[in-house]
Structure formats: C-alpha cells, structure tokens
C-alpha cells in the first residue's frame, strides 16, 4: 500500500518534472540602464567579493588575487600557487561573516597539493587579509585525487545564516565514478564550519568511509551558488552537458542525480541516460535547454532596480549576457537578457550599495546603473 502510494507520488513528480513550461528568454527592446566598466583590463575575473569598506576583491583565474580600492588595483601577496589547467585556476572568494572584526577571507583554487605525482584538484583556503598580504594561510579542504583532467573544478563559496560555509567541487571529468559515490570527492556540495571543522550534523558523518564534509551529491559542475535573501536557502546552478544546465536548492544529504538522471545529452548528441527522474533523486528547480553555460549567481534584493527585486540573475558564458529569472512559487515564469552581448559573464554579485556588478572575461568588472 505504502509502496503503491509512494510510486504514485513519484509518478506525479515525474509528470510535474517533465512538464517544465517553455519560458523562452526575452530580449527587451528598451533598456533602462547603462553599463559602466569600473575595473578595466582583467582577463578572466572568476570570482569577486566586496569588503565592508566597499573595496573589491577579484580572483583572476590565472592566480592573482586583486584588491581594487580607490581606483587602484593591488595584487595581494602570499597567495598559494595555483595549478592552472583547463577550467581550473583561482576561483571563488568569500569573506567571513564577521570580516570587519577578524579580516578572514576564503578562496578556492585548483591545486597540485597532495601525494599524487601530477595533476590537481580543488582546494579551499582560509587566510587573514592584512595590508594586502595574506597571513595565517591555512588549507581547509583539498579534494582528492589529483588528476590532469581539465574540467569541472566547481568552485563557489557561500556562507549561510548559521555561519556554515558551503563550497562546490565538480565531477573532475570522471562522471561515472565520482558524483554518485560519497566516499569520493567530486560532484559534491560541501559544508564546513568557518574554521574548517566538519559539522557534527553533516548528513554523512556516520557513514563508513564517507567524505564527511559532503553535504549533497550527484552534481556535475556547479559554478554558481548564492544564499536566498529571504529564506536563507542555498541555491546553486550547474553546467549540464549538451543541454540540462540546472538550478537546485541544496538540502542536506540529497542526491541531485548526475549522471543517473539528466535533461542533457553528450556533446556528440548521444544519450547519457534515458532517465530524467528516478526515485531518491532530486529534480532541478529549473533546467536550461539549450545550455547557457551558467556562471555566477545572485538574488536581486533591496536593490537599486525597483523592478528587478525578487529576481535571480545568472551569468551566461555561452551567450554573453546576464540572465534574469523571476519566479512564482519557485517556478520560473519569466526570463530576460540583461547586458546583451557584453561578453562572457563569469560572475555576478549584488554590491552592498544595491547595484549589480558583473565580472566579464577580457573586459573587467561592470556596474549596471539605472538611468535617472
């Protein structure tokens, strides 16, 4: 009886899941904003974070951590060496929720630290930022094993309202081995305490051999993560293969399905799996077909743009715009292009001043200013 009931529930889920309404992206005829390049001459600004004094930290993928203050770029000293290969580099940055008292920052980079002869994997570091130099640099987490594969490192960093740190590691190009195995790194969202300790209530702490920092699994390559400003939930998006980029709300211990379920195909057009839904695996809140190659993610909240509050914005590497999505009960009901043809949008943040800042490859940091 219960089984039958559950299978009906599951069937219903599948029907709902596969019936995502077609929300074709709009290209507004008139735009009511201008775009100012506030930090020019950057190559691949992968991540950025504002400090309380409104200065900006920028991570260049090649390995430089830049402090932009009073119109000047300064390279921060003592950054650990980055293993630059393929999609790997210096990536996410976050500041401690109590940065104004402790000056602590966090960053992720691809790193060859470890026992393996060659290759690299994603590492999470913590350090104290003092006079444009990193002090007390400590490695909080290093995904294993190192590999020369060039793809799917993650890696964004976000704090939730309880002070837990989340970061992402992609499947490292080993999709049939890593994402579904909680005893291995890769294809995971991780949760740590601010000092790097593993929270005692993490979902897999009692599972033998599990990577106990893992919070959710079955991910492909999440390069966007942000906290919902009202609910406090952690939202992510991830690159699908050919089609099937996803938005997900992260919950403890959940399996997001890659590669057992996906709305995407192989790059050759062949099938990865016939399954779009399976019991015990989460459906995405939204999926993109075709892929937009999403990177960076922010909610618009108490912003300088009255009409946009409540939206989610996502950078598109592929189509060279910022995508704005609106929701009705966590269903996407509208999508539009912002800053169309600006270039590869790698990251987006809502500044403390309520303006949106885009990190655009080969361009720099751009501010979206509403017209008066």
């Amino acid at each position: 009886m219960t089984t039958r009931y559950l299978s009906y529930v599951f069937l219903l889920q599948v029907l709902i899941a596969c019936a995502q309404p077609d929300v074709t992206i709009s290209t507004p005829d008139h735009t009511n904003y201008t775009i100012d390049v506030i930090v020019p001459d950057l190559e691949i600004p992968w991540g950025m974070a504002f400090l309380p004094d409104n200065s900006l930290l920028i991570a260049e993928k090649e390995g430089q951590l830049i402090h932009f203050q009073n119109g000047q770029k300064t390279n921060i000293e003592n950054v650990p060496t980055t293993y630059v290969r393929g999609q790997g580099g210096l990536m996410g940055i976050a500041i401690h929720p109590n940065f104004k008292d402790n000056n602590i920052i966090y960053f992720t980079q691809s790193s060859s630290v470890g026992f393996d002869k060659s290759g690299g994997n994603t590492a999470l570091y913590r350090a104290v930022l003092q006079d444009n130099e990193l002090q007390d640099v400590s490695l909080l987490y290093k995904a294993e094993p190192n590999t020369k594969k060039g793809v799917h490192f993650g890696s964004r960093i976000v704090f939730d309202n309880d002070g837990y740190l989340y970061f992402t590691v992609g499947d490292r190009g080993n999709r049939d081995v890593n994402p579904q195995d909680i005893t291995r790194d890769g294809g995971k969202v991780y949760r740590l305490r601010d000092n790097g300790e593993i929270p005692t209530d993490n979902p897999f702490v009692d599972v033998s051999n599990a990577k106990t920092a893992v919070y959710s699994y079955g991910h492909r390559n999440p390069q966007g993560m942000t906290k919902h400003p009202v609910t406090g939930e952690i939202w992510t998006h991830e690159h699908g293969p050919r089609g099937g980029d996803e938005i997900n709300i992260i919950q403890a211990g959940k399996n997001y399905g890659w590669p057992k379920i996906t709305y995407g195909k192989n790059y050759t057009g062949t099938t990865i799996t016939k399954d779009k839904a399976l019991p015990g695996m989460e459906q995405p809140l939204y999926y993109w077909i075709p892929s937009i190659a999403p990177s960076g993610m922010a909610f618009v909240h108490n912003s300088a743009y009255a009409d946009w509050d409540g939206s989610l914005v996502v950078g598109s590497l592929k189509f060279n715009y910022l995508e704005r999505l609106t929701f009705d009960n966590n269903r996407v009901v509208y999508r539009e292009k912002i800053a169309n043809q600006i270039g590869r949008v790698r990251d987006v943040v809502l500044g403390p001043d309520g303006f949106l800042y885009l990190a655009v490859e080969s361009k720099g940091i751009c501010k979206i200013v509403p017209n008066p």
Binding site: V84, R85, K149, V151, T268, K318, N320, G343, R344, S362
Partner: protein
C-alpha cells in the same frame, strides 16, 4: 645492401606514421577534455559565437593555430569569411599536448595536412600580442 636500405626506409616511414597516429589519438582525448564543449565533437562550433574548426581557413596558418591554443585568443578573428569577436582562454597545456591537439585538429573533419607538429615546434612559438 640495397634491400636493407629499402627496409630502413620502410621502417622509418612506419615509425613516422605510428608517431603521427599516436599523437592524433592523444590529441583526440585532449580535444574531448579541453575543447569539445565549445567547438563540438564535429568541429562545427556555434554560429556567430564559436568559430568552426572543420574546413576552417584559419588553420592553414599553423603558427597562428598553435599560438591560439598556447596563448589563447582575444578580440576579433575571421574564419571562412565570418567575423568572431570572443575570447578563448589559454588552457595551461604542455607543449607536447598542444602538438597532439593541433595534429588532431589538422587531420579531422575533412582537414588534412602533410605537416606533423612537434613539441619542439610548439616550444618555439613565442607570444605575440
């Protein structure tokens, strides 16, 4: 004597062919890891965004091809009469890997060449802006 020279010649041809085939195979694996998501498995790219590699006139300049893989591409280029203005990041590949990828690209999807790109050749390509 003449026969042994003939065999020597034959074996060196075979040796070169094997080298080329191995490089092509390694190049294909690297292509599938580093290039395929933009340029696609059939090298057709993406209209208006990502230039094609299949039958691309750009590849006739091997030096420019190697340079673009080694140091990336910034700003406008024209391929088969179509202008593309995008960015390709350098991938952090070793010189031998760049040679393999180039050999794969130059001999796939209808592309052919007599040239075999070597690690030493890639090493000799210096960055020009």
């Amino acid at each position: 004597m003449r026969i042994s020279i003939f065999f020597l010649f034959l074996s060196s041809v075979t040796f070169a062919q094997n080298n080329e085939e191995d490089s092509y195979k390694r190049g294909q694996m690297l292509y599938d890891d580093f290039c395929v998501r933009c340029h696609l498995p059939d090298g057709t790219g993406e209209a208006g965004l990502i230039p094609p590699l299949a039958s691309a006139d750009f590849l006739q300049n091997i030096q420019a091809t190697v340079h673009s893989i080694k140091y990336g591409l910034h700003g406008p280029i024209t391929v088969n009469g179509v202008r593309y203005n995008n960015t390709m990041a350098p991938m952090g590949l070793e010189n031998d890997e760049i040679a393999d990828i180039t050999n794969y690209i130059l001999n796939s999807w209808g592309n052919t060449t007599d040239v075999i790109v070597t690690e030493a050749y890639v090493q000799g390509i210096k960055e020009t802006k």
